[in-house]
Amino acid sequence: MGEELIVNMGPQHPSTHGVLYLELKLDGEVVLDCVPHLGYLHRSMEKIAENRTYTQFIPFTDRLDYLASMNNNLGYCLAVEKLLNVEVTPRAQYLRVIIAELNRVASHLVAIGTFAQDLGAYATPLFYAFSDREKIVELFDELCGSRLTYNYVRIGGLSGDIPPGTDKVIKDFIKYEYKQLVEYNELLTHNVIFLARSKNIGILSKELAQAYSVSGPILRASGVRWDLRKDEPYLVYDKFDFDVCVGTVGDSWDRFKVRLDEVTQSLRIIEQAIEAIPEGNPVSKVNRVFRGTGESYLRTENPRGELGFYLVAEGGFNPYRCKIRSPSFSNLSVLPALIKGLNISDAVCVLGSLDIVMGEIDR
């Protein structure tokens, strides 16, 4: 048809979620080809890890997926604990589950809000989601004195016990959030325009998802019933009753819906966990500086997929090598295959539904 137009979408663009740079080849409005360029947020985390002690690296994991810092802390600490064979008290395990799920709720809320924003719903769903998230963030502020980068989970436990009265706050939040979820359904899920924009857009087949090692809500939206919390339970996830939400088609709407449903499931987990917290001391008893030997690879189910830490230790105080397998990295790698042939509005919709965080892609 017409002349090819190369549009550089990003690194500064309202809907590339940070500093992703997509080189789009357009024919009119149809995307012919897409080449993602990464690295604008590269902070050489893995090199830093080699120059810090194990404990010193925990704050850096906050900066990977900055919307789910607790989950990153958790993933890293579990990997180190696996390396050192450290036992964690039951109370710490329950608290870890609670904060990880709270952070998952917060992260999914942001995903839902920004997805609606990408579809052109001006700011309203985003504000709703952020004001809900604000409650979680304030709670975390109470727990560890920080709103975004928590450094709360420590090797062998947590940095401190929860302040008294926290369970009441969490219970109130759960009650409030159930009401809010009804509102999201009314505002977005069955909105005709929203459906028209996201249904059957960017269909990710089961086979393609597995081939690209896609994980998390995106994989589940493609109809694969796979959740590490269920299939390879870590911490105490096997003690809770929750469902794995799956989609049917694997389109953008399914990815949105799976996230919305997962919020409900996370709230269910928190409800059960908060009733069953055992007494004890969750504070870490492990030395701040220690030596390790061997290798460990451990994955946890992050809000965006499976976060893996590959630690190699050679007896020093620092990790010899720390590879971070970030979920968004693999999830993004499927994007060029997904948006070829769609038009530019749909490309933005698909990118929004993938819910990437550049902090953990570039590391």
């Binding site: 002690t53 690209y212 090692s213 390879e232 105080f317 090598r321 990295f329």
Partner: protein
Amino acid sequence: MLINDTQKKIKDKFPSLAVEIVGSALVVPKSSLLEVATFLKNELSFENCHSVTAVDRKDKMEAVYHLYSTSNHIMLTLKVILPMDDLTVESLYLLWPSANWLERETFDFFGIKFLHHPDLRRIMNPDEWTDYPLRKDFKRDDFIPRPQSTGLKG
């Protein structure tokens, strides 16, 4: 022990290969990586290439693959030892498309050339750069490695 089963199956299939277990990883010779990987994917149902990376051991380089079998719930750590003067290894891109970007990343940081890779460019660092920053001998004027911690004193 699941890794032993995997080793045994590979041994049965390729009796002449030196497949050994080092630590918790399966080490295969570089020349037969593609064969073994194809076997792992097609017959032992490791359908997921989770992560590709490398470890610089100063005298040699290890390319590390984490393969996952969703049906059997096995995470296999596959290693290939590369001599420092010949950092080339066959690309597994055709078996697992996810290896595409992961191999690019490994190339970017370690300089391992993945043969027959469709698009082996740097992924994070600037294209014109010639250094490989995650190697242990990486040196730059503005990069000063912190001295190894000596632990708590006194």
